[in-house]
Amino acid sequence: MLKSVPVAAKKPKLAFFSFTCCEGCQLMVLNCEEEFPGIIELVDIVNFREAMSLRSDDYDIAFVEGSISKKEEIKKLRAIRKNAKIVVALGACSSTGGLNCLKNRFPMEEVKKAVYGKDARHKPMDTIPARPIDSIVRVDHYIHGCPVTKEEFLSTLKAFLLGKTPDVPNHPVCVDCKMAGNICVFEKGLSCVGPVTRAGCKAVCVTYGCICWGCRGPVDDPNMNAHGETLERYGLTADGILKSFDLYGGYRIYKTGRPAGHDGPPAVLDGRKRHA
């Protein structure tokens, strides 16, 4: 974790970079329409390819979205790490590998062929298994979520500007869900990875009628035994629900064969529904 923030004194320079992703987390930043005029009074944005022509290698804080899935990206990411005082992983793809890691279930050559056929040999189609940025460089701070929330981006930025260490929520989604006043999805006959998933999202997916998909990854020390008991109580098997972890927990599963905090066998599919 961050010990001191060297940028609080002067007007810090911010840079935004994007690797393999949908650019939705950058868009969440651009969606701070009301806050934008205020933000640019406090910081200089020197790199934001989606929205600006300016490009500079002189920056204090680098926000990096996207996972790494090409060899060229490794080199670029290392250069960013060298230039920046603080590197922030912006969003699920960057912080945990995100959905991109679903492709790691298959051999890369096969994946390329499935999409590009005989033309898979062309250079732009080169690919390596998708991974989070902290598998390549040191990361100072994580903003989780697919996509990140505006609020968490803004509170992180504010903390940096005040010279504080930003918070990373480390309680399960269930806490947020209770605070939102939602009916538990297990009571509705559905299953959910909220009990072991990192919160900070205000349980927005459950509030809008769905389940927690686990996009923020597991909390630091997930209580998988208790989660297993919950699942059993509702007639589910731990194996079954593990399948839903590989939506966002793919990188860990790719590396270790199982999701965080779980020492059981690799997952198999169960028949539970995801919507009422």
């Binding site: 690797f19 969606n31 329409e33 929205a51 090409k70 189609m125």
Partner: protein, 441 residues
Amino acid sequence: MAHQPSSTAENAMHKSHGINVNEVTRVEGHGNIVINIKKGRIEELRLEIIESPRFFEAMLRGRRYDEAHHIMSRICGICAVSHTSASLKAIESAMGITISPQAMLLRKLAFCGETLQSHMLHLYFLVLPDFFGEGSIVPLMKSHRDMAAMGLGLKNLANEICAVVGGRHVHPISLVPGGVTHAPKRDELEKLRDRLAGSFKQLDRTLGLFSSFPVPEFRKDREFISLKARKGYAFYDGSPFSSKKDSIRPETYAKKIKEYAVPHSAAKHARTSRGTFMVGALARVNNNYSRLAPSAKKAAGRLGLKPLSTNPFMNNHAQIIECFHATEEAIGMITALLLTGPKPEGIGKPKGFGTGIGLVEAPRGTLYHEYAITKDGLVEKANCIIPTAQNLRSIEDDLRHYVPTILDRPKKEITAAVETLVRAYDPCISCATHIMNVKFV
């Protein structure tokens, strides 16, 4: 082509340029423009797509049908509602799932929100700085405070539409196979309707602003492909239609649109039997002109856009026209929703399995998802045809025609003009690199 070479064309004949725009800015995704001109002739021209391919169709295999929309939404943050919608339509068609009239209204309302959001982002954040010779909207927030604030306000309203229906704009939550899992509150909808009704004033000013900028004269005969609906303007509904006067059956779309890989692009190119074609706002306005809402038709008149407009720079204007239409349509849909509820509803259940197609008009053009679902409810195969991939060949073709007409200008100006043309297409490169399964049977 109507463009007349300028009087300095003589000079242009002898010019040599190497133009390299690395990572074109203010577009969605990563692309380079490479143009090599020797003695007034283009030797080399390509729009290199260097975005990392993501292999969504391969990733989706073996996943449950009710995860597909969640996964495929992540193809693109900007047009997440479009990808979600195309995905849901494909799943629902494959599995015989029906949705309620209220769910249909809510989905279409979110769709209007996304169209507005994407167009506003393009017009204000990506295009507008070109007209002021600035690199981004940031300096405009100081030099043209009211104008920038207006753009931000319109974009904020568009996001709010998606948020009221789907929980958020980027990767909407409540849109699922069989319907919509959340019923917005009445007061949320009423507030939204009032804000939308009030936004026509800002749309008018936006139109005035953009019509004050010169549009480069550039005409080229071309085929426009978009959906066309039996009733209304085609955003969420409709069948593929070509401006060369024929309709295309959805089932044959993937065959009519021939995709092929090129060595310099992670996104495939596409052609029809007639060659290059264009999709997007201009194609839609051209093909659905008579279906435009009254305010949108008036806007088209003021902008001087009549079908068939073949100038790709007019795509920006077509987007403004669509903003009027989407706003009027959204108000109508909210009024209809308020008549009956909205009430919390259950969602439709799968009745079978098989192959299904979902077609929608994403902000950047016709979007095609096709899935095969097994009897266990798992995705066996997937194929997506993405708007920008369909436009890439057209962009390169246009550059090939356009660049020779501006060769007499200084290199810096040519570079800027070339970037402006590419930007007018509003390419979404991260979308375009998630294509396409050629082996779909």
